[in-house]
Symmetry: C2
Subunit: 357 residues, 2 copies
DNA sequence: GGACCGCATGACACCGGTATCATAACCACG
DNA sequence: CGTGGTTATGATACCGGTGTCATGCGGTCC
């Protein structure tokens, strides 16, 4: 129960003074000044086709003069829907969150929509209940669900039930292709595989993420596909499962380096684990890239700061956010509603990869 | 002008069926079921003291049974104010933004308030105009202004003019102590200075940030104070100005290492520049910490991933966000309105600092 | 016993928009 | 010139809450 102490019923401060031209204009002011009813102004605002061109021009002129903008709350109340978009995320990588936010807001700019953020714990048993309350109370116009939240089918089902628009951001197409931005992580992983193969590596290891993450599954799949293109297969002995964390990268890479016939290259399914592999390499007296080549995924800020700088797969996170925002909020001015809502990862080659010794 | 294509005036879908117990309850339903007027329900919601205890109990019981929650839009419309808090930020460090968001939302949880995010370009000439529109249109309850946005006095003046509550997050107290969360960066910098001095360093260099950032000025001030405590003074020849960026760290550290009598320790006013110093050290064949000790500031994720792991000053970013949120949204249940809205930085000693050779 | 007071409550208008429906204005047609 | 079918517009109710003000009620004071 939200009980905001509002204090006793306050007197409204006198504001009916004659000189308060500073007061914000309402639809009534515009209507009066334009000599039409408020409903007609409403029609103009909502681009109704049933307004005479002449009337529309006159009203728009008054709107311009007064700087009037409709009150989103009043509009929302009448529409039974708000002009708010929710971003529901649970991603430990702040880079993702911030980039997505920037992208979504790129798309929302000038549309009158605003972005409400909602970090969640995807393992919480109350998640669905919380999200139902969130969407219903705020009457959200729509939500953006980046991975891994986008992989929660119960949550997606809830959005459908509530009639809440949604766009999923994920690494691989899912049921609802029309509501997705797909990053095709697999292609980036395949690029990494070809890159390593072309450098002459044959004993190539993989440090995967948790199998519950679609991105991990997809990156691995793409990696294997890329190797296959070069006539290589992933040796099961050279596959270690990590947890997308620094510590898990240290452990997994340590195990790989302890093998009798250790790999000459490692593909880590994210940069955090790649950082861990750097540390393990040092602990084992191995030099990067002379003794072992390392490739990461995400192109996190850290990738370029490590030494040697980490070769990694970059996702256009901001673009992905922008596309999600554009899909959510239809802009009549936008000409093409590109039906291909997908982006391509890009392999950024730095100094952590070299020819196989 | 926000013109959301709403399509033609739509028919309202029939929903007056008898069986739609699923429809969300309104204040009218609650009033009817409790046998009181909607105004009395309103009084209960708003914790008015003018309701008989018996009546209040009865109404609360109905509210509990029905799961009723007031519509924030309708409430906002009547209150002429929304239940939205804005986060206006312009910080290149995503860690800061995400941590602040988490903290603010910790404080907002259960209050019915939501968080609207707004990345801005603090150098944009349209900034003030944009913010005025943002605050006025959304009728924001309040805003959180982390640094460096918090240092924009024009923006703060605007908030005052608009009657919009605000909380600044900054490294040093400013005019409005009651509306601030202060991180006292200077103390953390002093800790760093004492740490280096106690390790026996005397030729200690400083790579500062842009002087337009209060944090940079404050960190430097604190650093000098810490040195002074140990009887040391900052040698002007060992001070280089950076720009809080990786590249500027490389350049500045490179210049320091090229000196005939190079420093044995460097304090970098953020971790990005410290990363640059790492690279410069390698380029000059210097080993960290044997040849040179390095201390950063921020304890960014990167600090623990660098090799050797970077000693850095950590700010409790999430706590800072939480405090800002708590100050903004008064919770009647909170007992003490702690008047000391400040946090202490903490020096995290890792492996990049060692005794002076 | 009547005037007066404070507490508790409700009737009603209002916040700033939109939906419904009636109606006015316009045109073509017979 | 009356009829009918658009097209354009406004009067009114309504969305779900809160502010204002009047009123009922029980008790105290003289």
């Amino acid at each position: 129960m939200a009980s905001h102490e509002q204090g006793p019923e306050r007197k409204r401060r006198a504001r009916a003074q004659e000189g308060d031209s500073r007061r914000k204009h309402t639809i009534n002011d515009v209507a009066r000044m334009a000599g039409v009813s408020k409903k007609t102004v409403s029609r103009v605002i909502n681009a109704s086709p049933f307004v005479k061109e002449e009337t529309r021009k006159a009203v728009l002129e008054i709107i311009r003069e007064t700087g009037y903008t409709p009150d989103p709350q009043a509009r929302g109340l009448a529409f039974r829907r708000s002009f708010l978009v929710g971003l529901i995320y649970d991603n430990p990588n702040p880079q993702h969150t911030v980039s997505h936010q920037l992208g979504i807001l790129d798309a929302l700019k000038g549309t009158g929509f605003e972005l409400l953020v909602r970090p969640v714990d995807r393992t919480s048993p109350k998640l669905l209940e919380d999200m139902r309350g969130f969407v219903e109370r705020q009457k959200l116009y729509g939500v953006v669900l980046p991975s891994p939240v986008s992989e929660n089918e119960d949550l997606v089902a809830l959005m459908k039930e509530l009639g809440c628009r949604y766009v999923r951001i994920a690494s691989v197409p899912m049921d609802d292709a029309a509501c997705m931005v797909v990053s095709h992580d697999g292609k980036g992983a395949a690029d990494a595989a070809r890159h390593l193969a072309d450098l002459g590596h044959t004993r190539i290891a993989l440090i995967s993420g948790p199998p519950t993450f679609r991105s991990s599954v997809e990156r691995r799949r793409g990696f294997e596909a890329g190797l296959a293109e070069r006539g290589l297969a992933l040796d099961p002995a050279l596959v270690k499962q990590g947890a997308y964390t620094y510590e898990s990268g240290i452990t997994a890479a340590g195990e790989l380096f302890a093998l009798e016939n250790r790999p000459t290259a490692i593909f880590c399914l994210n940069d955090e684990m790649a950082s861990g592999a750097y540390l393990a390499a040092r602990e084992h007296g191995l030099s990067i890239p002379k003794d072992v080549s390392i490739v990461g995924f995400d192109d996190a800020p850290i990738a370029a700061r490590l030494w040697p700088a980490l070769t990694s797969v970059r996702l256009p996170l901001r673009d992905m956010g922008r596309m999600a925002g554009e899909m959510l909020v239809p802009d009549p001015l936008r000409e093409v509603q590109a039906d291909a809502h997908e982006v391509q990862p890009e392999l950024i080659v730095r100094e952590s990869t070299a020819k196989a010794g």
